[in-house]
């Protein structure tokens, strides 16, 4: 829970399974977000694919942050303080598609998740 008062969002009553990127959470996650954003560069993507540990070290990620990546712990990243749009840049480079990432966030297999959808081919 974030200690922010806002007329728009009741941070004392967070929606279940929802982690908004703001406040001290966004501050804590900023370095990690910046690392994810660096993957927008084709050169960094290639370096990351070749040696992820090296790129994470160069980005100055903490051990905890590096472990999120090793574990593909998407919800861990979100709770820690990054945005899903950062997570999706990372999961894409790791070869995990958006809906596979989303299924894992829900704690489901891809097949379990897809069974909940109306038309599976049109994402």
């Amino acid at each position: 829970m974030l200690n922010i008062r806002s007329r728009q969002i009741d941070y004392s009553r967070p929606l279940p399974g929802t982690y908004l990127t703001t406040g001290v959470r966004a501050a804590r996650g900023y370095r990690f977000s910046k690392f994810c954003m660096s993957l927008m560069s084709p050169a960094v993507r290639e370096s990351f694919k070749a040696d992820a540990e090296k790129v994470m070290a160069e980005a100055g990620l903490s051990e905890q942050e590096r472990q999120f990546v090793r574990d593909k712990d998407w919800n861990g990243m979100l709770r820690y303080g990054t945005s899903t749009f950062m997570v999706l840049k990372l999961s894409n480079v790791l070869g995990v598609g958006q809906n596979r990432t989303g299924a894992a966030m829900r704690g489901q297999t891809y097949e379990e998740f897809m069974a909940t959808r109306n038309v599976r081919e049109a994402s």
Binding site: S6, R7, Q8, I9, D10, R13, L15, P16, G17, T18, Y19, L20, T21, T22, A26, Y30, S33, K34, M37, L39, M40, R45, N75, L78, S83, T84, F85, M86, V87, L88, K89, N92, V93, Q98, N99, G102, A103, M105, R106, G107, F113, T116, R117, N118, V119, R120, E121, A122, S123
Partner: protein, 293 residues
């Protein structure tokens, strides 16, 4: 100051990147995608018939144009040409889109005079938030014949502008258009939504009932949507469903006299997709000014 610009109507569309991918890979008539793409046909025809001079389009960035080092609540693209963003897997295969610096800078002045302190951007590469709706509305042979002035709204990192503020921004845009000294027939284009959430255990949340209610309200009673908090919008429509505040910018720029010519809804996977055409009476001459707040 009565000018010569006018708003002739509004368009709205979801902006998921998967739509643009389906479009670019020739899937528009597959069983899975046809119900969505058929919804763009009336929009394509309407724009072709109306021949607007300018499209003002409102979308959010998805951390492709901006990063959290600096994240504007509102941003306005005034470039002569808008570059196409690379979202991390290569640049979208679209040509850069012409802008309208003369009107863009006038809009910037009008908005700031009107207390909307918008970030003015000479370089603002457009991501799928803009590209999906534009590419679906302008088929390849008509790209890009109509200049575009893009407006970005922050929906990624709270504090984000309230629904009320977005509605008022639309009203301020209308005042700016109507004060413009040259003939300019403008289409407003709102994008995003409807219900979806792309993160956490609530990934894949949708709410068809709310989506249909929203489509009704945005046409008939936008004031009611403008009164809603982000908490309510996120509760009903998912965290990313808050994107519907960008439909309110479009709606705020229109009059009460609009006619809904088209409305489509399709929910295949993780997002409630919708499209809409709201037409002003008399080619935008039906109602000449919006009362100041």
């Amino acid at each position: 100051m009565a000018g010569k610009g006018r708003i002739i109507g509004g368009l709205a569309s979801s902006h998921a990147p998967s739509i643009a991918v389906a479009l670019n890979t020739g899937k528009t008539q597959t069983e899975q995608w046809k119900p969505l793409f058929d919804g763009y046909k009336p929009m394509i025809d309407w724009v072709e018939a109306k021949k607007p001079d300018l499209v003002i389009i409102v979308a959010n960035d998805h951390a492709n144009t901006f990063f959290f080092d600096k994240y504007p609540c509102f941003a306005l693209g005034v470039a002569p040409v808008h570059e196409i963003a690379d979202e991390g897997w290569g640049r979208w295969p679209f040509d850069p889109i012409p802008g309208h610096p003369e009107f863009g800078w006038q809009l910037a002045h009008s908005l700031v005079d009107d207390e909307f302190d918008i970030a003015v951007c000479q370089e603002m590469p457009l991501d799928h938030g803009f590209l999906t709706p534009l590419a679906c509305t302008f088929p390849p042979e008509r790209r890009w014949q109509v200049p575009v002035v893009p407006i970005v709204v922050n929906v990624l990192q709270p504090p984000i502008p309230s629904a009320r503020r977005c509605f008022k921004l639309g009203q301020a845009i209308r005042r700016a258009v109507e004060a413009y000294e040259k003939d300019l027939r403008v289409v407003m284009f709102g994008t995003g939504g409807l219900s979806h959430q792309l993160h956490g255990e609530r990934y894949g949340y949708n709410n068809n009932e709310w989506d249909h209610q929203f489509l009704q309200l945005i046409e008939k009673d936008p004031e009611r949507v403008a009164r809603m908090t982000h908490q309510e919008l996120m509760e009903f429509g998912g965290a990313d469903g808050v994107e519907v505040i960008m439909w309110l910018v479009m709606r705020g720029a229109l009059s009460n006299d609009v006619t809904c010519l088209h409305r489509n809804y399709y929910h295949p996977m993780v997002t409630g997709f919708a499209q809409m055409i709201l037409e002003e009476p008399n080619d935008g001459l039906g109602r000449l000014s919006v009362a100041a707040e």
